[in-house]
């Protein structure tokens, strides 16, 4: 079992929902990301998703597109992100998921990537544009190295695919709560709760819900029925806004702390 599985076991015992934070690795630079990982760990983030920057992030809205561009402009590469994980792993046991498009991995070589990811202390990978049908080799490699393959379920996913996805998912299932790209929204999508129950029929894996979740109120609402809540763009937008601020890391940490607050109050 990876750190992800152990963390969800702990959460289950504690009877509370987990908090998953997404940040774009290398935005504004990899040193800051290193500091940010440690800060988010201190603030009580349960699972950290590190976005690998890509030139053509077609599932992302403007906030993460821009973060990706900033990271690439600052020289971030897949190898750079992996090395940063190796460094930070000596200081923290926070579960780390790489959130990535397939082409950088394809280019690096799936075999080499999976070995290296396991070596540096990555726990799971979420490949945005690699459905299980195309991912046979990747899934086999990941299983062999004991890493979690996290797949997405979306509002358009029908029952037969839900079953297929559940059968290949390790760590947790990521439910994308709305159609569309990543980004903050004023209100939550409809029918999240019923979809989460539907997924539960096919798997015992924890279910995390993300896309469009941006406020402490959203977090409380989702935590009522999901095992974890994912927040991305709301955090990434603040990293963009505060990037010239000497207190960038602390300010983002405080914001994330305010999102996690509601999850702790029930304990």
């Amino acid at each position: 079992m990876t750190r992800i599985g152990r963390r969800f076991d702990d959460l289950r015992k504690a009877g509370r929902a987990g908090f998953v934070a997404y940040i774009a690795a290398g935005d504004p630079d990899l040193n800051t990301t290193y500091q940010m990982v440690l800060e988010l760990d201190r603030r009580g983030v349960d699972v950290l998703e590190l976005g690998v920057p890509f030139s053509d992030p077609l599932a992302d809205g403007p906030v993460i597109q821009e973060a990706s561009q900033r990271a690439l402009a600052a020289g971030a590469t897949l190898e750079g992100v992996l090395s940063m994980v190796a460094d930070v792993r000596t200081e923290t046991e926070i579960p780390i998921v790489l959130f990535t498009y397939y082409n950088p991995i394809h280019r690096y070589g799936v075999d080499c990537f999976v070995k290296r990811a396991a070596d540096v202390g990555v726990d799971g990978v979420l490949m945005l544009d690699l459905p299980p049908e195309e991912g046979g080799d990747y899934i086999a490699q990941m299983n062999e190295h004991g890493l979690d393959t996290i797949f997405l379920v979306t509002p358009t996913t029908r029952d037969d695919r839900m079953k297929l996805i559940a059968s290949h998912t390790r760590g947790f299932v990521y439910y994308v709560s709305r159609t569309g790209v990543t980004g903050e929204r004023d209100s939550l999508a409809d029918e999240i709760q019923s979809k989460v129950s539907a997924i539960c029929q096919y798997t015992d894996m924890p279910i995390a819900v993300g896309f469009g979740i941006s406020t402490p109120e959203h977090v409380s609402e989702i935590a009522r029925y999901a095992d974890a809540v994912v927040v991305g763009s709301a955090i990434v937008r603040r990293i963009g806004e505060f990037q010239c601020d000497a207190d960038l890391v602390a300010k983002v940490g405080a914001f994330v702390g305010s999102l996690i607050g509601p999850l702790r109050e029930g304990v």
Binding site: F54, S55, D56, P57, L58, A59, G61, Q65, L72, T77, L78, E79, Y102, N103, P104, I105, H106, R107, Y108, L128, D129, L130, P131, E133, E134, F151, L152, V153, T154, P155, T156, T157, R158, R161, I165, V176, T179, G180, V181
Partner: protein, 401 residues
């Protein structure tokens, strides 16, 4: 060569190791629906009868196969025939697949059409068929291309389409595709994405090819009627690869017919500023398919350059990748300068102003002709007309001289 090209792709959309469906999960159900709808339409004679009727009465098919006598004399080699896709309604071959796809959209009950465009020809074709069927239409176009192809932007707006400028990335075709896909994953209920080339996730490379196949089917019958034999060489330009696959496909079983695709050489391969994926690219995954891609060592998609917006794209369709591996087709490139010379040459010798895209194919014929004999035959796909390019060409030609 014994090959069942007609049977490709396989059930999961693969042409050998190429193609497939590398998309976010939200799109998987939409692609499944599209594949099912197309599967049904494909077996329905009424669908094809309706398409044929529109192609004849509205698009103006069949397009002529024209013997370019003065160009032939000028080059002093083989007989050169031009397949006149420039004479199709809207001035390029793009209308063939736009018409086919909108009939499919109607069958699926979709009420909103989106598309990406590079040179603007696919956008104009899509806006045209959307206007004709009274459907809402939004076209995504990189702002750099909007500037290069201002005339086509005006045409699309005149046709009632909303043209949305894309400011991200390189501000060209690949970024327009990103934005159209983002629209599609958001508006999953009512929207049909009319794809502009033999690119993207399965079933698009198959659907677009099947609708473009008519080019080669006609050309094959026309040359047999004119010459009593098949041509020796087919030449077509290759951006994503829709006009070239359209010409080539009906000839795949004719082992003696050689096929050459011409990519955009831009400022030359050594300069790094080009869009010749088979001359500097390698295997990657872009816009839903495993294909040849121009990329850097870190797997970031490279920026491309071509004087022709329609060829200015980082990837090339999966079926081309496969046919090249099988050595059934071959690929070369023409530079901006060579294409512009060909643009002028065809205008002078034949009174036909070709699109800058098609000018790349003509440019290669200029290189090929001296090595061929007078009794041989070349068919070139004149995929579009050059009216849209006149300003861009004028700027460039003045700049060079």
């Amino acid at each position: 060569m014994a090959m069942n090209a007609i049977d490709l792709p396989d059930a999961r959309g693969h042409f050998g190791p190429y193609g497939g469906q590398y998309v976010p999960e939200t799109l998987m159900a939409l692609l499944e629906d599209l594949e099912a709808a197309y599967g049904k339409a494909k077996c329905d004679p009424e669908f094809w009868a309706e398409l044929d009727r529109y192609l004849r009465d509205y698009v103006g098919r069949p397009t002529p196969l024209y013997f370019a006598e003065r160009l032939t004399e000028e080059l002093g080699g083989p007989k050169i025939y031009l397949k006149r896709e420039d004479l199709a309604h809207t001035g390029a071959h793009k209308i063939n697949h736009a018409m086919g796809q909108i009939l499919l959209a109607n069958r699926m009950g979709k009420t909103r059409i989106i598309a990406e465009t590079g040179a603007g020809q696919h956008g104009v074709a899509t806006a045209t068929v959307a206007a004709m069927f009274g459907l809402k239409c939004e076209i995504y176009m990189g702002v750099e291309d909007m500037e290069r192809q201002a005339l086509n932007v005006f045409r699309m707006r005149l046709l009632g389409a909303k043209v949305t400028g894309v400011h991200s990335g390189s501000k060209t075709l690949k970024d327009a595709i990103n934005e159209a896909i983002r629209d599609w994953v958001t508006n999953v209920e009512d929207t049909f994405y009319i794809f502009g080339s033999v690119l993207g996730p399965h079933p698009y490379p198959m659907i677009v090819r099947d609708f473009q196949r008519v080019i080669g089917v006609e050309a094959r019958a026309q040359i047999l009627e004119r010459e009593g034999r098949l041509p020796d060489v087919l030449v077509a330009c290759v951006g994503g690869g829709s006009n070239s696959i359209g010409l080539f496909h009906a000839f795949l079983d004719d082992a003696d017919v050689q096929m050459i695709g011409v990519e955009a050489g831009g400022h030359g391969i050594a300069s790094g500023e080009h869009a010749a994926r088979f001359n500097g690219g390698d295997l990657g995954v872009l816009h839903g398919a495993r294909i040849y891609v121009l990329q850097n060592d870190d797997g970031q998609i490279a920026l491309t350059h071509s004087v022709s917006a329609g060829l200015d794209y980082s990837g090339v369709g999966p079926e081309h990748c496969y046919l090249r591996d099988m050595a059934r087709t071959a690929y070369t490139y023409a530079t901006d300068e060579e294409a512009l010379s060909a643009f002028e040459l065809l205008s002078h010798t034949e009174g036909i102003i070709p699109a800058l895209e098609s000018s790349h194919a003509i440019a290669h014929v200029c290189k090929l002709a001296p090595e061929m004999s007078r009794d041989q035959i070349v068919v070139v796909n004149l995929s579009g007309r050059g009216d849209k390019d006149v300003q861009q060409a004028a700027r460039f030609i003045e700049g060079v001289r």
